[in-house]
Symmetry: C4
Subunit: 233 residues, 4 copies
């Protein structure tokens, strides 16, 4: 079990990396499951990710209440996180994004498919969540538990889900895994959209499976990305 | 009513943000209605937005004359601002842009439509202003009151108008609102142009309306964008 | 007549601006006609534009010999400049570029056409020079006077010429004029290529003519671009 | 024969240049043949290229073992390098990349062809290596000698090979040559992909041959690229 201090620091770094990699703008968020309390998770208060520091991180329970009674404003979409942690015990970290190419991939009518070994994790298929089917006409936000449950059900045990007219979510075993998947999902989306409607030779499903296994946890990426944002600040 | 000093500072920040977000290059401008004199507005003298400081801001009346008799060179297209303020009392701030993707969206024959909840404000439709219909053969510039009136009429009570062969205008309740709309309009244009001619599943009009209501005034964006340009300088 | 010292400084700044605006990479060059000797021109020795300082600038005659007998290595393509200065007395400055989108525009089979008032100067048409017709099979370089003459003939009195399989050239009255045209030509090329093969509503030729007249010499751009490269260094 | 110290320094610079030019991200690598021991080559230990310093460089033999018995983790794909050095005595340096546009070019069904004189080296054709034909279902990695030999055979005496679902490799006489080819191959791929499926007028094979001969070894690029990464650090 990772020490809480390390996790808190990694979560702040993850916020900066996601901003630096253009996965998040003023919106989007990243969380990590509490290492000692699997029914709790750590996430920033309501704040643009690039501005997050350690003092902004809160511990929430799966009802999305701060365990310390903290009164600061919270992300309205924290139910994305709580309901996925509830439904998927293997998930240790979650990233929510409005990256433009991810948004576009969710409304263009073509499925996201793995183009190279770095995106082998897409090989089991990325569902598209349509909030209309779960909740009718809405502001598109996952701002209560019912919507969160519907999204978690759409995600299932997959690594990611696209949200029609909104963005997407990636999950992983731990922070570098979820962050790495969010970066490579975006790259894959950009490539598919670059040649939309034309035939691409995607990875064979078995190649995708083997490729994902080899690429494990994005350790070479994390060290590089971390240096990029810590040098910067 | 906001204090004038705060407004002046916000207007300078808005100029820098628009440059940093690639909404303006050497051209384009942003203004704010005077908080105490609704028939006056604040705008920079003739200068590239990224170079604007507080001493460059002038107060103009709706005839586009500086109220202090200042002799410095003015934007030839200040009539964009005066005539919209005259026609639309609810408008508190205006941004004019030549952002390339906005220019292209105005000449490609497809209407701008909302792709995600951040651009719900596009749901009521964005008109395309064709200066030929108002003024025949011109240099495309809104350089007098008659052209400004025609543009304001085309805009109506919408959040934005595209200008054929020129660029676009967004309006808002206040500076962050107009700036935020200019940024997200550009992102939406980029996404539509990326897959031009292919079917996109846009927001339902009711989703757009509800999405806009939830996204109010772009407060998380403004704080982030402000830090990006104040750290830089 | 501009003072030589100012011109030299402007030519160094122009080199940096062109690099900062991605008009040149390691290749490409900019020159200015000598203010007192119309049969001479100023241009850097063989060097990537972003590395050019005042001591690298040489004065060449229209045979492309350094007037001081300087022995440093010269651009092999300096004949682009000499032959255009010889053929077009009104031309005061010349930019040669390999900007990728300009290269692509020259081989994609569609003519460059003005999309907005900032590119009104394209309204008289931009020829495409095919070196095969002038010199058969070559390395594509304008490395002697005969090739330079053929290119100058293709350019005629137009503001720019595309070079098949190579890049392009823009000319202007003075340095800011030639630099400004090179920047906006590139933007226009990017926009046309973004939606290649689809119908764009270009400027009417008369709008292009009037638009160019209003946009004169890109003075607002030059001041901004200059600050961007002088702050940087 | 270059001095080893200079070569080591150039190899570190090459790692930084490739990162700065977006040829490599956390993955990809560059090597150089040992100047005195043609059956040895120099390459970094397992590390993201932008993080490489001189102390990370190892000397490997063609079995991919460190000649000093160094125990640090090695690139699993070092067999790309060893088998090409073994098969092609003229090759002095090798770059392996996952640059997204290079990846996409390898799966889009159109051959890479030279668009301008800077990419004349593509004129002899760039093969696409399909690992399935050599090794069946895999994780796509060139992680043993057999896969390396198959890749080297696909490359033959060409300047580059694309790897389906993975990336690409460029080779050259020396470091600036291999690095330069990797940069211009990427630019050419971006241009072709920008207008995929539409007719481009490529260089004539003879123009490509003559163009490559004139562009030799990218010396103007190397000096510029080197300054860009040494100023930065």
């Amino acid at each position: 079990m990772a020490h809480l201090d390390t996790l808190l620091n990694d979560l702040v770094i993850a916020n900066r990396i996601l901003a630096n990699q253009d996965i998040v703008d003023a919106y989007g968020h990243v969380s990590v499951r509490h290492p000692a309390q699997p029914n709790h998770f750590l996430i920033s208060r309501w704040l643009a990710p690039d501005l997050v520091t350690e003092s902004d991180i809160l511990e929430l329970d799966l009802e999305c209440h701060p365990v310390t009674g903290d009164q600061r404003k919270l992300y309205s979409e924290r139910f994305i996180h709580s309901e996925i942690y509830r439904a998927q015990p293997e998930v240790g970290s979650i990233v929510h994004t409005h990256a433009p190419m991810v948004v576009l991939m969710g409304v263009c009518g073509e499925p996201l498919m793995p183009i190279y070994h770095m995106t082998g994790f897409l090989g089991t298929g990325v569902p598209v969540f349509d909030i209309r089917k779960a909740a009718g006409m809405t502001d598109m936000l996952i701002s209560d538990a019912a919507r969160g449950k519907a999204l978690a059900q759409s995600l299932g045990d997959k690594p990611a889900v696209l949200m029609r007219g909104h963005g997407g979510v990636t999950v992983g075993r731990d922070i570098p895994h979820a962050v790495g998947r969010s970066v490579y999902l975006k790259i894959n989306a950009e490539l598919q959209l670059r040649v939309l409607g034309r035939k691409i030779e995607f990875l064979d499903p078995e190649e995708a499976r083997l490729g994902e296994r080899s690429n494990a946890n994005f350790p070479k990426d994390w060290d590089l990305w971390k240096r990029q944002v810590t040098d910067k600040s």
